[in-house]
């Protein structure tokens, strides 16, 4: 039996101890030099207009205040937009540049950075800066109020699926007709760790930059381009990230400011945003979807039309894949989609966990549910009746799709068959009980990743690549892949990430990290294995002199003969006898595009929810959730489960609580702290069960892994909305479902 078989095992987090004992350091915690200075950002109280005067005299007169940076004294930086574009920047538009000029384009825009010897002093001095403004009160804010300004963007991040069939005609001919407008407002990421950057200044402008980011190389290239630095001068490090959810996909302004101040002052600088300032940049965009569905009397989908409207800023065209899900999930021959944007006086939206998917699936999964009720068919059965056997959007077969098993196993565990189809049919005291279901889906993608591995003669392996671990468990799962591939005890493997000097890796996002980085780790370890094996064949009196790789296994730090387990060589023996101290490999893993493009590749889920709704007071409690996920091969069921749990919790949050409220009179998000921007507390979360459905897929990538970062949240808000309808008979089509909408 192989003992170093780690893939599929619930291995504890290799960084768990460091995290719970406070040894894991985050961007703001690197106090590696004395004499570090502190920057505090001043945020604009005005939403739109111009700064007409700045007076920093009083602030600068404070002993210990080193400098105040504003548009008046920052110049000489890169001029072209392309220098400010990062890997996640929208294709069209001009990225926001702090201190570029006196123009204010959104509320809480950073308009000054105070740098002082202490944080407290910087914060105090910030309150002493006097600005004068010319306020422009012709604001464009509020998506629904500005639909007349909707337009097509120059380009889409993901192209809108082309129409197929004749959706309008098919709708007209349909026996069952449904249309509904589905809306949610803006939502902000709010990871526990606020955005922060610590820049350690070295001679000759050599900077070591500790940044909160989902991609150290993205941050590095951003500051290199803007400040004209070499790779050497801008090393970005981020070993731990206290949650990001997409907020770290683009370099945030504290990075720009900390680097600017460090270069100008030739000092080490730390800039940490406040919780309130976490509401000053990207967010999930407010989205309205007008969905029309036609079905035959026997419940077959005939027509799906979805026209989406999303907000963007005045300076960039942000889009996400919202409408295509309406054509992907089910078999429907006639579809027609459109997606328009509305520029507003807000910051550019930003990818937030399952960007587009969570929004698009919410609408279509509510609309399909409504159609099922109109057809008088059980909502789960309706979904199974309209099951897609291939991806009609791209006219491709699926690489794998165990969604039917998600429905069946989830339903079984939840007890769906005991459901009374009537609305308002279940009650407990003054609580109405409802059961709802929804489908979830997310793309299974693979990106090119380069990884380096180093095996030393003592049998210890180090593998590194410049990816990040935003709490997902990357350290752990990659350690498992490396240990299993080389047959080493897991304690002998060290996986390193989060340093721009490491081999090339993409942003950690899109649920592609386990698949992409995992494939690279596997590949580089296989290269080491080949080398080790050829060395093993050549040592004196090698038992494997005439052996083939198929004749041996790599286990417990040994190469062992398959036919006789008593015959083996240890890694140390092989290397010592070969006179080799270190075996090093450096490999790039590329997706097999030729194979992959012939298939539609997605991960899926079925989410079952029970809610209790207080009939008089309108309060909703989610008492039970079963999430059945088909996500390919599961590297670590423990961290995988955590991922899905977190997604479900966030889905509950989105369904019932989260909403950043814009005061349309002043264009300012008013609940900009965690007292009033509600997310669930422990008391809101009851039973959540996660099922991983068996799924094999040798097309998505060599590991057969599909990724779980987003799938947990997709579908949850729809399942809750559908359960609330089942409980109350009320369809609430705008999120969050707060109690006043049910009273």
């Amino acid at each position: 039996m192989i003992t170093t078989n780690y893939i599929g095992q619930p291995v504890n987090r290799v960084d768990g101890r460091a995290k719970v004992t406070g040894q894991a350091k985050y961007a703001a915690e690197f106090n590696v030099v004395s004499g570090i200075t502190y920057g505090f950002v001043v945020s604009s109280p005005v939403t739109k207009g111009k700064i007409t005067a700045v007076n920093t005299r009083q602030a600068l007169s404070q002993k210990g205040v080193l400098q105040v940076f504003t548009h008046e004294n920052v110049s000489g930086l890169a001029w072209f937009d392309r220098s400010y574009k990062d890997q996640d920047a929208p294709k069209d538009g001009s990225p926001f540049r702090p201190f570029q000029n006196n123009e204010i384009q959104f509320s809480l825009q950073p308009i000054a950075l105070v740098v002082a010897e202490t944080y407290e002093l910087a914060r105090y001095a910030a309150s002493l800066i006097h600005f004068e403004y010319e306020v422009d009160d012709q604001l464009v804010v509020g998506l629904e109020q500005n639909l007349d300004k909707a337009r097509k963007p120059k380009s889409y991040k993901v192209p809108v699926t082309k129409p197929r069939g004749d959706a309008n005609e098919a709708f007209e001919q349909s026996a069952i007709k449904h249309h509904g407008d589905y809306y949610h407002g803006s939502e902000h990421h709010n990871p526990m760790e606020m955005h922060a950057t610590t820049v350690i200044y070295g001679d000759d402008d050599k900077l070591t930059i500790y940044d909160k980011t989902q991609g150290v190389q993205n941050s590095q290239s951003y500051v290199k381009k803007i400040f004209g630095l070499s790779d050497d001068q801008a090393r970005v490090i981020s070993p731990f990230v206290g949650g990001a959810f997409g907020s770290g996909l683009r370099p945030q302004y504290q990075l720009f400011m900390a680097v600017l101040a460090s270069l100008e002052l030739k000092r080490s600088v730390k800039v940490v945003l406040t919780r309130q300032q976490m509401f000053s940049f990207g967010h999930r965009p407010a989205t309205l979807q007008k969905v029309i569905i036609g079905a035959s009397a026997d419940g077959k989908l005939q027509s799906i039309i979805n026209k989406a409207y999303t907000e963007t800023s005045q300076f960039e065209e942000y889009t996400e894949n919202i409408v295509n899900w309406s054509g992907y999930l089910y078999h429907c021959e006639n579809v027609d989609f459109d997606h328009q944007i509305v520029s507003q006086d807000v910051y550019t939206p930003l990818d937030m966990r399952a960007p587009g998917g969570v929004t698009g699936v919410y609408a279509i999964e509510c609309a399909v549910d409504e159609t099922a009720y109109k057809a008088g068919i059980d909502p789960l059965e309706f979904r199974m009746m309209n099951y897609a056997e291939k991806d009609l959007n791209d006219d491709l077969p699926f690489s794998s799709r165990e969604l039917m098993q998600c429905y069946l196993q989830g339903a079984e565990r939840f007890g769906w068959r005991k459901r009374n189809p009537e609305v308002r049919s279940m009650r407990e005291g003054h609580n109405l009980i409802g059961w709802g279901v929804a489908t979830g889906a997310w793309e299974a993608q693979q990106m090119p990743v380069r990884a380096k591995a180093k095996l030393s003669a003592d049998g210890k392996l180090t593998v590194s690549t410049a990816t990040s671990d935003i709490g997902t468990g990357t350290y752990t799962s990659m350690t498992q892949v490396a240990a299993e591939t080389l047959g080493l005890p897991i304690e002998d493997v060290l996986f390193k990430l989060g340093d721009s000097a490491m081999p090339l890796a993409p942003l950690q996002g899109g649920s592609w990290t386990a698949a992409s980085v995992g494939s690279a780790v596997k590949l580089v370890c296989e290269d080491i294995r080949s080398k080790l094996f050829s060395m093993a064949r050549k040592v004196d009196n090698s038992p494997f002199a005439n052996a083939d790789t198929d004749d041996v296994i790599f286990d417990s730090g040994k190469i062992i003969s398959k036919s006789n387990p008593q015959v083996y060589l240890t890694v140390s023996e092989i290397m010592h006898q070969s006179g080799v101290n270190v075996i090093e490999e450096d490999t790039t893993s590329l997706p097999n595009m030729l194979k992959q493009k012939q298939y539609s590749r997605y991960t899926h889920s079925a989410v079952f929810v029970e809610v209790k709704v207080d009939e008089d007071l309108g309060t909703v409690h989610v008492t039970r959730v079963v999430s059945a996920v088909a996500g390919g091969r599961i590297i670590n069921p423990k961290t995988a489960r955590s991922q899905v749990l977190g997604g479900v919790v966030w889905g509950i949050s989105q369904a019932l609580q989260e909403d950043t409220i814009l005061d349309n009179n002043i264009g300012r998000f008013m609940n900009h702290d965690l007292a009033e921007y509600h997310i669930p507390v422990n008391a809101d979360i009851k039973d959540i069960e996660v099922i991983f459905v068996e799924e094999h897929d040798d097309i998505v990538n060599p590991l057969g892994v599909k990724g779980l970062g987003e799938i947990g949240i997709v579908g949850v808000a729809a399942a809750i909305s559908n359960a609330v309808y089942h409980a109350t008979g009320k369809r609430v089509r705008d999120l969050p479902i707060q109690l006043n909408k049910l009273m």
């Binding site: 509320s107 407290e120 009179n665 509600h678 507390v681």
Partner: protein
Amino acid sequence: MNRFTFASVTDISTAIAELDEHDTPKYIAGGTNLLDLMKVNVEKPDHLIDISNLAFNQLEELPDGGLRLGALITNAETAWNKQVKTRYPLLSKAILSGASAQLRNMATNGGNLLQRTRCYYFYDTATPCNKREPGSGCSAIKGYNRIHAILGASEDCIATHPSDMCVALAALDAVVNVTGRDGDRSIPFANFHRLPGDRPDLDNTLGAGEIITSVDLPPNNFAQHFEYLKVRDRASYAFALVSVAVALEMDGNIMTKARIALGGVAHKPWRNTEAENLLTNQVAVMENFKKVADAITKDALGYGDNSFKIELAKRAVIRALMQAAGLEVQS
């Protein structure tokens, strides 16, 4: 946050004397609200006087059978105190429905009475607010006002008082004992907080430099029939949209005495004794509860986002009365 000096005092006369030596001094005890407000430049004291070592930390029996709660006892100690739990369970329940365990461990009883509104605009110095900056205007009236007042508001301010504890204290007819330059005085709870009128900058009737020393709970027979019902946007750690404290004295199914206080609806814990009296010597039935709920909300006024609170307040009053009277299981 501005720079400030700090002094810790051990006797009340020094505490008061400290006030005269500074421009904008503030007392601090638990600091759970004051520090937050200082961080966002809403409160800008030049001097903090730490009063947490003063002797107002006793819980005493009163000769009339009541209980005196020292102003410096924490909310947690008060809520879990055996005397409070058995004789004033309404107060325990109200305190425990507020904030978090960590905050209740820090926050004091006196400080709870003095916490300031959670109005978004009051907290954001970028926006006009008459409470923060008299005369600058009220942003909430025409702005986003989901959490705002429906009773007793004025055109200058529609903020609410955020406390849970105070709603119970209002229902229990507590008395606030204070001391200051002019000596001691006692303020009936109903007169302690005030309505905004044209001076929303004043939350209460404390005189300049006065300190709360204790809160008296008069004896009562409410320990059997009570309820604190808090309706909010999540299950814990959120301020009340509407909360209701109900205390009943019952003889069989007849209510011999009834007190109802509402939180989250006004600039102060809301009592309407005229409405309460509708229940006196009446049978505890839904019909009577509806009458009193209608009477309490008769003059309620919504401002758009908070208009739902009027109906919510009615339903919450009815639910709380049903539960207090034992006609429904307590939540």
